[in-house]
Symmetry: C2
Subunit: 493 residues, 2 copies
Amino acid sequence: MTTNFFDVKDSRNLTMLVDFYELTMGNGYFFNDVANKTAYFDMFFRRVPDGGGYCIMSGVQQLIDYMSNLKFSKEDIDYLRSKNIFNENFLNYLENFKFCCDVWAVPEGYPVFPNEPLVTVKGPVVQAQFLETMILLTINHQTLIATKANRICRAANGRPVMEFGSRRAQGYDGAVYGARAAVIGGCSSTACTIAEEMFDIPVSGTMAHSWVQLFPSEYEAFKAWAETYPDNCTLLVDTYNVQKSGLPNAIKVFDEILKPRGLRPKGIRIDSGDITYLTNKCRKALDAAGYEDVKIIISNSLDEHIILDVLNQGAKIDGFGVGERLITARSEPVFGGVYKLAAIEENEEIIPKIKISENEEKITNPGFKKIYRIFDKASGKALADLLTLNDEVIDESKPLVIFDPIYTWKKKKLTNYFVKDLRIKIFDKGNVVYKSPKVTELRDLAKVETEKLWPEVLRFENPHNYYVDLSPNLWTLKQNLLQKLSDDYEGNN
Amino acid sequence: MTTNFFDVKDSRNLTMLVDFYELTMGNGYFFNDVANKTAYFDMFFRRVPDGGGYCIMSGVQQLIDYMSNLKFSKEDIDYLRSKNIFNENFLNYLENFKFCCDVWAVPEGYPVFPNEPLVTVKGPVVQAQFLETMILLTINHQTLIATKANRICRAANGRPVMEFGSRRAQGYDGAVYGARAAVIGGCSSTACTIAEEMFDIPVSGTMAHSWVQLFPSEYEAFKAWAETYPDNCTLLVDTYNVQKSGLPNAIKVFDEILKPRGLRPKGIRIDSGDITYLTNKCRKALDAAGYEDVKIIISNSLDEHIILDVLNQGAKIDGFGVGERLITARSEPVFGGVYKLAAIEENEEIIPKIKISENEEKITNPGFKKIYRIFDKASGKALADLLTLNDEVIDESKPLVIFDPIYTWKKKKLTNYFVKDLRIKIFDKGNVVYKSPKVTELRDLAKVETEKLWPEVLRFENPHNYYVDLSPNLWTLKQNLLQKLSDDYEGNN
């Protein structure tokens, strides 16, 4: 498939998928004559789910689709008017809404880290504020699933992982865009048919237990399947009893239906029982029957931990079907991305803003910023990310000293490095200036970029904390703002 | 709002949101000339999430929308043809697809229990099988969220619970249909604007921290808000410091802007910090300033446990905004509903089918069944549910003996009872014959029906196991099938 059916399949107008307070604030900005003040908002997250070392950025193309199609229908305006709290000049603005923000984002597939501005919006505060709900919803969801899929695929250690979770997803988009994110994270295919139509990602699937039950016997069910799909025959062998029934029936059907035609069966699937024990028994029996090339596929409430465990026990597995624990990121199903005001403009000057908190790690990084990823020239490995103010340029010919933003005496002097500006502009004054690559290309990109991280960062448990440091300028700006706010309170009280 | 914007807002064709194996099986049914064999499938779940005592059925209206709109476009057919595995007679069937199944379901809002057939489909196996993915996806998602919302709302003990989770939902439908399910479960409102347009459920919202940050000072931000919304003024008081700044500024603005106009403020919201401590301080200060009627709203990673805990500690709270832990059912984000073949017809006779498993609790209940809920006439309380074969009628004038399906000596003789056939028919030969009530009516229904359960079943922890028993006919049928299957294996080996 090369056609992209996106426009056919998802023609919804999601403009009104917005927290109501974005609208009451928008109305308030108008009422107080600040609607067109230029604001900078950052989207970022504070910790990696599952105690992992990094996340995989995902969802940018859907953000672009959303921002490109912002439009309030007449019905939307009528509905808002019926609330009797919105002023007519605000409603007129919405009715004639013309998106005009600048937007930057880390491209999909890149490993990303806590406190990095993954998306930055610059524009009239009434617009930049409005985007909050959908930026968070889109990036939080897809980055969560891509990150979980990446863990599961790394555990599978090169074996294909098929995404099988639609039926347990949290809603239709959970299934469809979840499948997309799962493939970016590393899955080889999805069972979700519409996802292939929409995103041109490979679809796969075998049979259900109900197929086996529908026929008078398992043998007849297998025979019917082999006759239907002689070129691509994978049999589900655990409907009744793998060893006593499923496996012998499968081998019998392979022998009787496929062998005489010179065809090789593709595989067997096991969806229940003791994986290590059964796969070893099956492997032995298949090999003895001359089916050394027939794959054994496993699917039963799998996640990265179970996969690591059964492989470690010596289970004989060629591929995994992973459902509910991937598509819902069951072990940690919330990605806590936030969207915070970083600066406003007054008289064309950028005034940085900070959000303080009694919880120190919730204090934001102020100002209009940039992310540089610093690579070691010799190994090509990523050494650290450095947040700077937007106009800062790094001179790669000179040594670079980075330091921990809390324990500032912890310094590191970098030489023989090069830097990459991690973000790309996706909207310029409201016009799209970027298109994400194909999903399968993003999967390849994610693999390449992840391999640039040190093994210590890739660990499943207790990974090394990748450095995300602040430039001296940004660090000083932040400290000054914190000092000033602290002084204000002491003065006030 | 009385208009339902559903058709405007969700005009997607979700027909192709289907696991690919439903299609390969469908093609196989045609190839093997069994596509029009009549099959009965049941959707049911095996355990209540979070160790609770019951679930709240939700999602039936979306099932109806889906089944009413099944249609394969020319592009879908072209796409399927391009896979080179589907026969033309199957593709022709899909191209001219005409839904013709009978479907029964428990209406939304009812408490439901493990192993009950919540949805039953009767129809040609090619159609009944096809529905699997979307029946599970729809009911699993909404029942999960309605059930979680019901727990959270019961913990709030009469105080309103506002659904605030869109930004952390798993995809757009996770937000939109999640908001719908949350209201069925008991939430008073949602922040998700489009959900009000689509389902006519109340929307609510206040302000974000960014509103406060945008203005030169918190006082000016509050003043601007009060000027904009003098009739409906709720202020977010934790942007800088609740006690030193937010609370005194709020009271000052209430005094200066609202009091002179004879208007009462609505409330304050606290989104961080020590809830019990801060709400007590705020309540005291508000009362002292003459604002005894001003509500204190709390929102910060809440769930039923934290709500029970802070209320138990004496926190002064009038309402809750609940986000990520509700909209993702974070503590247990997967609802494990399954869809299993229960019977087929041969020569117009129903042949019951059973799915066995080494895990005894995974063995299905065979046959075409009915759910009776048995109520005590004196108290009106629900005593038990009884699964029977579809043609069984209970004579309420006679005592009814029910028994545990495992420990069959545990019996109970019921007198002075009445029964209710719990399911309704939603499709008759492919035509819709039911429409769900309004979402707010479903919320009322859920409240009424939940109150018919004994307090022991309503417990948050270790609830009493509500009885879901089998009629003697159904029990005997199941035992006979199990005996036969067991004998088959011993004979085979």
